[in-house]
Amino acid sequence: MVIIHENINEYLAADLHGELSEAEREELHTHLMECAECRGHYKEGQLTHRVLQTTLESAKPTLGFEQRMVASFRNRVLNKNPRLSGFLVNALRLRLIQAVSVAVVFFALVQMVRVLTGDTALNQSQTPLAFLAAPSSGSSYLTQVQPAGNEPAPRWNE
């Protein structure tokens, strides 16, 4: 009974909402007969319950509410290229694609920082495209197209 007295608010609410078990309900009503303080709370609780019921009754959504929600969803989402957006959303569910996306964004950020700071200290051989500039033997593809030695590059107007 001490437990009920200490938690009277929870018991009252659950009783008013019909959510007490038979045993709990019996315990509560036995306690109410013995405790005038809790009985007073119970009466006020019943009034509050009724006031809330009648007040919020009028705030219920109007007729056809669900249909309006569905129609709004169709207008705002499904009329905008559903195949492409559906494909993208489903693709994003895959962990592999999430990881690759993060890696691509990270790589792009690193490149952007390099361009902005003018960082040229990094050795060319460390770049991902180094194999184009430094093949194992002979001249590379890039050195073939560049002018040899210290000769100045030909000018277009000559």
């Binding site: 659950a14 909402h17 109007t62 169709r74 989402v77 559903p82 959303v89 489903n90």
Partner: protein
Amino acid sequence: MEPADHEMYRAAIHGDVEVFEMVIRKMSRALFAIAFGALENREEAEDVVQDAFVKAWKSRWQVRNPEKFPAWIAMIVRNRAHDILMRRRTVPLEEQFNEINSIQAQFWLADAERYQQVYAALATLPELYRSVIAQRYLEEMDYASIEQTLGLSNGALRGILGRALAAMRKRLKTNTEVFS
């Protein structure tokens, strides 16, 4: 959660449009109650629910466990309603009530005073309490459904509803007009 519901949420997460529309039909009233509990304005609450479904559709890939799907959408609604509420804080409470009264005057004229007092009392409660009260009284949802929607345990929900009703009781008690 029943297996049929689990399957429905799983299909909705995987992009089945028809199933997602079933979810909208099933959940929209509960979500409206949450939004209305926070905002106490029917039009704004409807807008919030609409926005929440669009956002849920676009970012459904974030949900891994279908059982958490209802609570996840409810969280979107609560966050969106909270954002609107924060933006609205600058408008005096009295003006808000006047606005409500002018819009819904035809329904509320007779009991305008009582409504105003009840809503003023509701407005002083924490957002979660208002959402729970709105779900219980607006949609007459049972405890199990509210627990599922808000991701609460039975003990937590009982505690919240108990404290919420007690707080309302104390606030309305000072107003003899409401209790008469």
